[in-house]
Symmetry: C2
DNA sequence: GCTAATCATGGTAGCGCTACCATTTGTCTG
DNA sequence: CAGACAAATGGTAGCGCTACCATGATTAGC
């Protein structure tokens, strides 16, 4: 009784099965599903009924092969656990959840080589768009992006020379603004504490340095950094190092909020008054910054929006209308709180 | 001069180009890349040289279509920003980074319906394996998993009835252990504070309740929960609610570490002594728990290992040797710290 | 009223790869 | 040394879908 199935394939219904059941050509089924406007009302109804009855689901692999284009967004981030990128990725997911696009995330581990390798892998499937964190691609990675044959959005930062499109903000300005705030509040011996000094951290440091030099207060001994990945406990340790090096420290600009929280805890532990003896500023403005005691001043960045906007721009480009503005600076906002309120 | 390229396709080299250049059949190239052992040393060298020279990269879509199997791991998690799942996902990525497998993550937003939809999407590409968080799939989702035709690993929890394999631990035991620790330390009016009460949170609550009932101390007014997503600031708010409801509270078991941190901050703010007046226990043991002041007792869970082990089990199953032990309980560890040291 | 443009549909021929089934050669057994 | 068997290689025929190019039917234009 069972009709003979082809030897390969899992026996799932194919577009030909649907076409047969609906009494139309396979190509019409294909069109009914992808460009409903090009198929007459009548046939469309019949076809959708057949699709439903058979439980037909198009095979994305066959589709990608035939059309030389996979319905996949490739996303490259340097870390999955860093809340900053997690928020960007969340924005990307939320913006794509009602679209046919699937998402493939690559974790570069802050390595240019790994980024190139992943770009190669991603490129081989002809993705619909690529979203990559950062603007400091290796020459090889940049070439891969330029030849990807799809919209590319660089996110997290803005810069002068986009591969295609960019959504981010200026980390240098962010670092400078944070430092200037400490200076304006009256702090003088302001340290910089940073872990995992990736290019964006470097630019925040550059912003700090610019502000300190403008005030005639820069001293290299005020800077404490490490390549080790950032964490709250590391923030505590680095702060102790900084204090040992420079006991008269009266403020710190922390490269991120984890570090800032570690500093705050160490202040509690060592009975150092915040904001009286030490002012603390963080970066990113995670939720906990406003809850801590004292609450911590931080530079709010629009991470989720970076994700959603990058998708919107990529989708527009896919649809054929590239946004006029290819570089979008979403800015940042200094959130003044108790940790610098003296 | 230019040899005519086929009208479709991006003009990238194909397996036929490599075969021609190496002077062998296409199928031999295919084998040289996938099962090197089955091709003679000589040919293999020639083929790899041709691959290199042409810059050939296999098309994963064509491969998936021809072999009815995509080299993709589908991963389903309820949240991308929750550090707990981020760690699991990181373990998955690290274990798969040297393999040919790509990863596709789906975000279910804690919704069974969304989980079913994503399972449908993932299933349509015939993934090599599926890793899903949780054991409380809807009947529809469960059916999709059973018919996926690939290894399936349910992670985060263990339970009696796996679809295929399981890696996790008992949240009920975790909740009970945390609560018993508070009881043994002498706390009596112990509250439970939890946000986003997903099935795992419910079971931690059940563990709390079991311990409290065993001690004859359970009182429903000690329990404060909300379906709202968890955050540090929410922890603070819920703790205030809990105190308002039950001013004599002398301990809290927090459903996770964010909540615990919020509670700690509120204690600082309201000058409530920790651990003297209130004992605090968190869940998951994020890095910051050991750094906070006072440091916070928490139940350490092995999230990264859940990720790596789930991949190892899936890979073994793909290779044909399913692990004997299909359910692996990775347990947890109570980390006693200052917040309960009285 | 006749040609030209538009619309709705279908047939054919791949997309780039691998499963399946030869074929050839070399090696082992009795 | 014949027959059996394994190892190395290749040819063919799809996998399930869509791009491209017809085809016939309708409408528009002058």
């Amino acid at each position: 009784m069972s009709k003979p199935r082809s030897r390969r394939g899992g026996g799932r219904p194919t577009i030909a099965d649907v076409a047969r059941k609906a009494g139309v050509g396979a190509i019409t089924v294909s069109r009914a599903l992808r460009e409903p406007g090009r198929v007459s009302e009548d046939l469309r109804r019949q076809i959708l009924a057949a699709v439903d009855e058979l439980g037909y689901v198009p095979d994305p692999n066959a589709r990608a092969l035939a059309s030389a284009r996979a319905e996949v967004f490739g996303v490259l981030v340097p870390s999955l656990t860093n809340n900053v990128f997690a928020e960007v990725v969340r924005g990307i997911y939320d913006s794509l959840s009602d679209s046919p696009f699937r998402i493939q995330i690559g974790n570069t581990h802050y390595s240019g080589l790994e980024e190139e390798r992943l770009l190669q892998v991603f490129g081989s499937q002809r993705p619909a768009a690529l979203i990559v964190a950062g603007i400091d691609q290796t020459p090889g990675a940049r070439r891969l992006l330029e030849n990807a044959g799809c919209p590319v959005v660089q996110v997290m930062e803005t810069g002068p020379d986009p591969v295609d499109m960019m959504v981010g903000f200026s980390h240098l300005d962010g670092g400078r603004t944070a430092t200037e705030h400490l200076l304006q509040t009256g702090y003088r011996k302001i340290g910089f504490i940073g872990a995992r000094m990736d290019p964006r951290s470097q630019r925040r440091l550059a912003g700090y340095r610019a502000a300190m030099e403008a005030a005639g207060l820069f001293d290299p001994r005020l800077v404490t950094t490490t390549p080790v990945p950032s964490s709250v406990s590391l923030g505590r340790e680095l702060f102790r190092d900084a204090l040992a090096k420079m006991p008269t420290l009266d403020g710190v600009f922390c490269n991120n909020d984890d570090i800032a929280l570690g500093v705050l805890f160490e202040c509690h532990r060592a009975s150092i008054g915040v904001p009286k003896q030490i002012g603390i500023v963080g970066f990113n403005d995670l939720d906990m910054m406003q809850v801590s005691f004292p609450s911590i001043t931080s530079v709010r960045t629009h991470r989720y929006e970076i994700g959603t906007l990058s998708v919107a721009m990529a989708l527009a480009a896919i649809a054929g209308n590239r946004p006029q503005q290819r570089i979008v600076d979403l800015g940042f906002e200094l959130m003044r709180r108790e940790s610098t309120a003296r």
